[in-house]
Amino acid sequence: MGPKAMSRADFYTAILLIALASAVIVGSFTMDRLEVRRIHPASAPGVVPGLLGIALLICGVMLFLRAVRAGGHRSLPAGANAVHWLSGLEARRLGLTAGVSVVYAALLVGWLPYQVATMIYVFVMVVGFERMMEADRPPWAQSVIVAAILAGAAGFGVGWVFEELFLVRLP
């Protein structure tokens, strides 16, 4: 990430951090002080989160001011640069990894039998990445065969190890 992109990222992050810190401070202030239990006021559950919220707020404001000084607020929106990056190979590789991995962990596991979900995930990832290669791309048939072998090994192998050896009831 270049300095310009970094200051822009810092600008947005600072706003998010200030919002989070404010929410934490409000949440801590309004948190039950357990007066009915007659606890010492200094041991109220909201004391430390409140102090951390204040510390985060200070850091967020410092980051915000620094990003503004570096011109992070002037280069909004990312516009053409973002469109150019999103159409690049890096974004496609990241999108495939993040997308398929999140779908596998958050959706497929628990919905399909573990072995089936794992086989689908490994197969899609291996084939997807090998087809995305610009150089040294293996032929289609080779990609599919290798992916199928790996998928089978991962699905049944990992499933067997955890189910039979570690006695885990798989999702």
Binding site: L17, P45, V48, L63, E90, A105, A106, G110, Y114, V146
Partner: protein
Amino acid sequence: MPGLDFLDQLPALLAGGFAHVLTWESLLNVAWATLLGIAIGSMPGLTATMGVALLVTLTYRMGPDQAILVLICMYVGAIYGGSRSAILLNIPGTPASAATSLDGYPLARQGRAGYAMGLATSGSALGTLIGVACLAVVAPLLAELAFNFKTYEYFWLALFGIVISGTLTSADDPLKGYIAGILGLLAAMIGAEGLHGFYRFTFGEPALAGGIGLIPAMVGAFGFAEILTVMKRRLSAQVIGSVDRVLPKGRDLWRYRGTIGRSGVIGTAVGVIPGVGEDIGAWASYAAAKRTSRERDQFGKGSMEGMTAAETGNSAVVPGALIPLLTLAIPGSAPAAVLLGALFIHNVRPGPTIIVEDPQFIYEVVAMLVLATLAITVYGLSLTRLLVLVLRIPRERLMPLVYVLCVIGPFAITQRLFDVYVMVVFGIVGFVLREMKYPMAPLVLGLILGELLDKSLRRGLVLSDGDLSPFFTRPISLGLCLITVLTIVLTIPACKSALGRLFRRQPTGAGT
């Protein structure tokens, strides 16, 4: 001065430690776990923290002794293994080996890859042994000192850990280190708090009542986030083969004895500092060697001394990081943080009381580290050419399998899908933060130290009836407070330059 009486018992404690660990089962576990660690460390994208975190999930059914042995072997092996790809690919297998690549890769390009790996092996082994010696002597002293720690000191210790970790792991931008630390501390506030059992920030979700699990968070921040980082770019580096001599010459090791000794001590000292880690140990050792070396003009162009310093330094951090882990329950590095989680899973409670309840345990860990060191020496000097094959495994085929373990690992410990979701969230947040140059170590340390900081501050305030003065008037508290404040002040450029001017003026004033 804490008592040095234990030094009389040291031989017996060491013998007991080795006797406990030296079994056929242990040797078998050392053999496979260290080899697996070297393989994981060798592969760019698979870090020591990720390796230890994934292995925690595979060893939780083992007995505590064997599980801890396996994890320590993985830790030592992975830190050492990072040197392979640093030398042969110019890509550090782990961040700890970044300094190694500066001289290791030029040596490989000069046709001396085998010798560079042999020297790196010797440096790593000697560095670990120096750290182990420090662990054996310093840990009981620190544990005895820690007996004087009360709730006020523990508060400052937790705060100091976050501040120093944030400062050193993000030296170019400490503000981001502090933000990462605070975010980790805030994450630790989720769930039932330790004094009154009140549920904080759970939003009515029962799964959040127990808080954020350390292992799922670590697997996410160091596993899934690393996978996203690695898969984003296509690796197209060429592996350099090695056909030259591997075994280092005795005279080379003797020539660099000063560098090895100094780097071992620096690495161990860096390891003792909470949440800093192996990469800082390597860079600090490399910088110290460069300042004092007669061949400093060769640094960066293939200096054997530079590479030895880096490798000795990063390996010495491993035992160093276990010193605060065992005596204060505060990890000295990210992999040590996972190890702490593993100790809790296996009902081993590290802390000052360990020296009273189970003093032998420290020396069992010493024995485990020595066995792991022997294993990396044997593998490093004998399997050089075979281990090169590991570097040829395509990441496109390997990473999906690693992610499968990232998903099933956290699930296996508690059998809750919620922990898989925690892993995913920490992975994505960790990836975004990494991309914006936020260090991960303070985040994780915050998650670990959050409870200690929270309970110590509130308990201290209750004990003093709301009076803050004990936090600033007790000697150890005051010392820790001053160090913490000074660490923050020194990161402010204006204060740093003012202090610099002050110290520059003094000699002139003295002379006039």
